[in-house]
């Protein structure tokens, strides 16, 4: 079987600012990131499907001690950021940076708050890459 639901195919869509997952053509269950195999049925008849980009915040943290990739992006103890898990309108949850929230007042960030997809571009030249992010719904 030629697996078209690869990580690189997913990230190519992200680069085009499209949030694409997979859908089981038999059960209609949707997966984000796209899965080639439905873990409940073991079915492999999948098709690409575009997600609406709408969701709600399921969990979050404000990261003060950052990994090297985020340090390179300018984050540190004085400039922390919010990472979260977003429950998409379609069902699946996904990890993403959460933009536009008050990281200095973490209690002000509400689980369940409506979010919409956003995209971040980081890196220079060949290393430039678009990252999935979410922000509070306008």
């Amino acid at each position: 079987m030629d697996n078209q639901f690869t990580s690189s195919a997913y990230f190519q869509f992200i680069n085009e600012k499209k949030l694409m997952g997979s859908r089981d053509v038999h059960t209609n269950e949707m997966f984000l990131p796209p899965r080639p195999v439905n873990p409940k049925t073991f079915g492999t008849d999948m098709e690409w499907v575009e997600f609406s980009g709408e969701g709600t915040l399921a969990a979050y943290t404000i990261v003060y001690i950052a990994p090297t990739a985020m340090i390179a992006a300018g984050f540190d103890r004085k400039n922390p950021y919010c990472a979260g898990i977003v429950k998409t309108k379609e069902g699946p949850m996904i990890s993403a940076q959460i933009l536009g929230v008050d990281v200095a007042h973490p209690e002000s960030i509400q689980i369940g708050m409506p979010l919409q997809v956003s995209y971040l571009t980081r890196g220079e030249g060949e290393a430039q890459r678009v990252f999935l992010a979410f922000e509070p719904k306008a």
Binding site: T61, A83, G84, L132
Partner: protein, 421 residues
């Protein structure tokens, strides 16, 4: 899934560990030898190491921490066990617990009668951000890490979900840290074996000595709320909610049940073993529980023929304070959403009805990641045999449990131990 029994019984006849801490000038093999020697000395009727038939080694990432892969044969060679089979087992922070399980299965299969399970990690040679990066490879590097998650961050996110769903607060988690530091203050092997109150006094004394203003904290909780004394790592997890970066090793000797009494009149029997796996944190139905832990526990209880109520003490994987609260629910000690109340009420303290992490846990004792699971077994071995010294709990003990988690629960392994005399 149906559960099966071991084809034959397995018993523990010896256990030992190095001190956990930051040891400049000691590498993995040096620490491994310390654990090995204490393990040999712990065998009541003496033991000839030549009788060991194979070696399982729990280790997470010597490759990245020390630039050394393929550590199992090195450890075997260094304690004289070549040419016996030596196998490294890696399942992130559950590496040691899974190595134990593989040792059990090796004996239960009938292929070997005597297996040593060693576990080691040397973490402190790397700078903090490199340690953070190395630990992060235990998560999904493709779909989780680009979001900016770190391990403290994952558990912090679980904490926000747990607080939101059940009403716990950051103070709940601080109480777990205070309790584990109290337990660790009685453990000479602990990396940070001091009560929070003792650490506070140390800070005051140090400020006075330097002629700096002496900080005023009315209580341990006030100290833990101080951003300077207890900085945020990933909100709501602060420094004293996080297990430290550690070096350490631990080792146990397993034999087939019928051989046990040859080596000791007080073997500890391994009566339950369970293990389960899972996907990324965002890929689960819940963020306030670790499903692989419940599944591993179910298997272990079923194999042992007992329930959570029968467990007298447990060493659980408190890599972060919130993880201990969730673990006590996953293991069935408390109902969903009740674990935080039990922690606040002192039910998991030394004198509580369900003592958790009498060793000080990963929080105080230290967390050399790939060695921690066997370190937990050393504590249960000592407690069940009445050899835990100043931290021995004075009550009739029959069953002890260890709970070892890899990542955020991509792996969980649970073992149940029984004293029969």
């Amino acid at each position: 899934m149906t559960n099966r029994k071991l084809a034959r019984g397995v018993a523990l006849i010896g256990a030992g560990m190095s001190k956990f801490g930051a040891f400049k000038g000691k590498n993995s093999r040096d620490l491994f030898v310390e654990a090995y020697e204490e393990m040999l000395q712990s065998v009541d009727k003496g033991f000839n190491p030549a009788d060991i038939e194979m070696l399982m080694v729990g280790n997470y990432s010597s490759d990245l921490f020390e630039g050394q892969g393929h550590v199992a044969p090195i450890m075997a060679s260094w304690v004289g066990l070549s040419p016996r089979a030596a196998v490294r087992v890696e399942d992130a922070c559950a590496s040691a617990g899974v190595a134990l399980r593989q040792g059990i299965l090796a004996i239960a299969s009938g292929l070997y009668d005597i297996v040593m399970v060693g576990a080691v990690e040397k973490m402190t040679d790397l700078a903090t951000e490199k340690v953070t990066d190395t630990l992060a490879t235990a998560a999904d590097a493709t779909f989780e890490i680009p979001a900016g998650f770190t391990f403290p961050g994952f558990y912090a996110a679980m904490a926000t979900a747990y607080m939101h769903q059940y009403g716990a607060t950051p103070e709940t988690f601080m109480q777990v840290g205070i309790k584990n530091h109290e337990n660790g203050s009685l453990n000479e092997k602990a990396q940070f074996g001091a009560k929070i109150s003792t650490i506070m006094e140390g800070r005051r004394a140090s400020a006075a000595k330097k002629g700096l203003p002496i900080p005023e904290w009315d209580s341990e909780l006030e100290f833990l709320h101080d951003d300077k004394a207890n900085p945020i790592i990933a909100w709501p997890m602060r420094l004293y909610d996080c297990s430290p970066v550690s070096d350490g090793a631990a080792a146990v000797l397993l034999v087939s049940e019928e051989l046990a009494k040859k080596y000791t009149d007080h073997p500890i029997y391994i009566v339950g073993s369970g293990q389960a796996s899972d996907g990324a944190l965002h890929d689960r139905d819940t963020l306030t529980a670790i499903p692989s832990a419940s599944e591993a526990a179910r298997q272990a209880y079923e194999m042992a023929g007992i329930t959570a109520d029968d467990i007298d003490l447990a060493e659980v994987h408190d890599c972060f304070t919130v993880a201990e609260v969730i673990a006590t629910e996953d293991l069935g000690f408390f109902k969903r959403g009740e674990g935080w109340k039990a922690a606040e009420a002192g039910e998991t303290a030394r004198n509580g009805k369900k003592p958790i992490n009498l060793s000080g846990g990963l929080k105080s004792k230290g967390h050399p990641v790939g060695a921690s699971g066997v370190g937990q077994v050393v504590e249960v071995w000592k407690q069940l045999r009445g050899q835990a010294g100043p931290r021995q709990i004075e009550r009739e003990l029959q069953y002890g449990l260890t709970h070892n988690v890899g990542g955020t629960g991509q792996t969980c392994v649970v073992h149940i131990f029984e004293r029969r005399d």
